[in-house]
Symmetry: C2
Subunit: 256 residues, 2 copies
């Protein structure tokens, strides 16, 4: 079955883009057909796959406003089996432009429903907010994957995020499910990380993935080469952790 | 003169809140009267000063929607000379609620214009976006301070931020000025940090502060104690760097 996964967290800089880019790459590497939808006006996912500004002329913004369909807005990447719907800064304006549109929360979902989707997985990289553009992802997807940095301020927003997911499930998308939380930028030497990890596991139980992504400078170097860390340096701890995370996602998906 | 400073960057997790909280504390410690306006629905600045959820009943959301004036929404903190206008998750809804309001970009500015402001400095902690709520800060303030993490993805959004500031200066607030960039979470051992720092200094020249904030785990521990790092552990490298940054801000302000 086609898996629809939104990677979301309104806390900024917790590893949303890095998780989408590397999970998608790892799944494509084992033969899955994957689409990444870049919903962040920063366009970091598009950059991480080396998509030039010219190649972003048609993208997610156009699909949300109904000016292009999914196939027109989707481009191949250099990675076999992996396509992307790129983002541009125009998406910043989408928050305002969508307000008066009919079915403003359903724009992405309606566009996907009307399209041929030759994919096994679709990932949406969300911006660091819970406003209308992110809402479109939560309505169009079925699973939500939440990257969580093990820091106090990052923990604080979790209850607001969970409440928002509950609200969306009740009123807009009954199939929406918090699929799991992934601990990112984890530093085993830090007491804070161990403490936050223990708190999160005691509260969310098996929803917290076993795979933990370590802090690893090679991860932050990869985007400047326009490549996912799995291709930039597959032996490094960060890349290995994302490969393991993909295996765990496949195992959990099979069990669902 | 009263200094009005927005701390903004649409890239998430770059140290906006940490910079506001610690700069404000350092300035209050040398006798300046400071107001922090928390404009982020996450309310991280309010948490960093130990403001309970009950004490946030009236805050920035109410001021933007015209339901309270500045003095009603402002609270003292445990730090002498430092007040805060707290934030709650309601601010997420403000993006939509402000759209149809008259002077929607000027709501914060008009509220401040009509108030008695017994302060030397006002800092606004912005959310990780460039939408209407952040626009309110850019219209109400005069200086913009941009915390910048020395990573490739963080560098990418800078040109969009600078273009947005130019647009706001031309159409909404002629006094708006990019006051400076502060390099945060700097790791001297990392080539990437050194490279990004060199790029930024060659492009922005003297607008880049001399003071660089090092990555320091004590900074991320402080919010769980409801205290700025300057009070949690004033001897640590992170606290010392923020004290130095405050000194540099005072020197640059005096020269302006
Ligand atoms: N495990 C890691 N180790 C080291 N650096 C990392 C790791 N994961 C991500 N990074 C770096 O940290 C920064 C933030 O990560 P990323 O941009 O993926 O977060 P995000 O949640 O998508 O941010 P935003 O909220 O702005 O969209 C990036 O510069 C990235 O390269
Ligand atoms: N110099 C530093 N060294 C170590 N950790 C830091 C440093 N500065 C900030 N942090 C931690 O990094 C995380 C991100 O910082 P902060 O929340 O201030 O960024 P932000 O830009 O305000 O994020 P957002 O975009 O979500 O508002 C926090 O957990 C904070 O405690
Ligand atoms: Mg991102
Ligand atoms: Mg913040």
């Amino acid at each position: 079955p086609l898996r629809l996964i939104a990677v979301a967290n309104q806390k900024g800089g917790v590893g949303k883009t890095t998780t989408v880019v590397n999970l998608a790459t790892a799944l494509a590497a084992v033969g899955k057909r994957v689409l990444v939808i870049d919903l962040d006006p920063q366009g970091n996912a598009s950059t991480s796959f080396g998509i030039s500004q010219e190649a972003r002329a048609t993208g997610t913004y156009d699909v949300l406003l109904g000016r292009a369909d999914v196939s027109q807005a989707t481009k191949a990447t250099t990675i076999p089996g992996l396509s992307i719907m790129p983002a541009t800064v125009d998406l910043t304006g989408a928050e305002i432009e969508l307000i008066d549109m009919p079915r403003r929360e359903f724009r992405l979902r309606d566009a996907l429903r009307g399209a041929v989707l030759p994919y096994d997985y679709i990932f949406v990289d969300c911006p660091p907010s819970l406003t209308l553009v992110t809402l479109n992802a939560l309505v169009a997807m079925e699973w939500v994957l939440v990257p969580l940095q093990c820091e106090f301020l990052a923990l604080e927003g979790l209850s607001h995020l969970v409440r928002t997911l509950d609200r969306v499930r009740r009123s807009l998308n009954p199939r929406l499910e918090l699929h799991g939380l992934v601990l990112t930028m984890f530093d085993r030497r830090s007491n804070l990380c161990e403490q936050v990890s223990a708190d999160v596991r005691s509260y969310f139980g098996p929803k917290v993935y076993d795979t933990v992504i370590p802090r690893n400078v090679r991860i932050s170097e990869a985007p400047s080469h326009g490549k996912p860390v799995l291709l930039y340096d597959w032996r490094c701890p960060g890349a290995q952790a994302y490969a393991q995370l993909a295996t765990e996602l496949l195992r959990r998906g099979a069990a669902a």
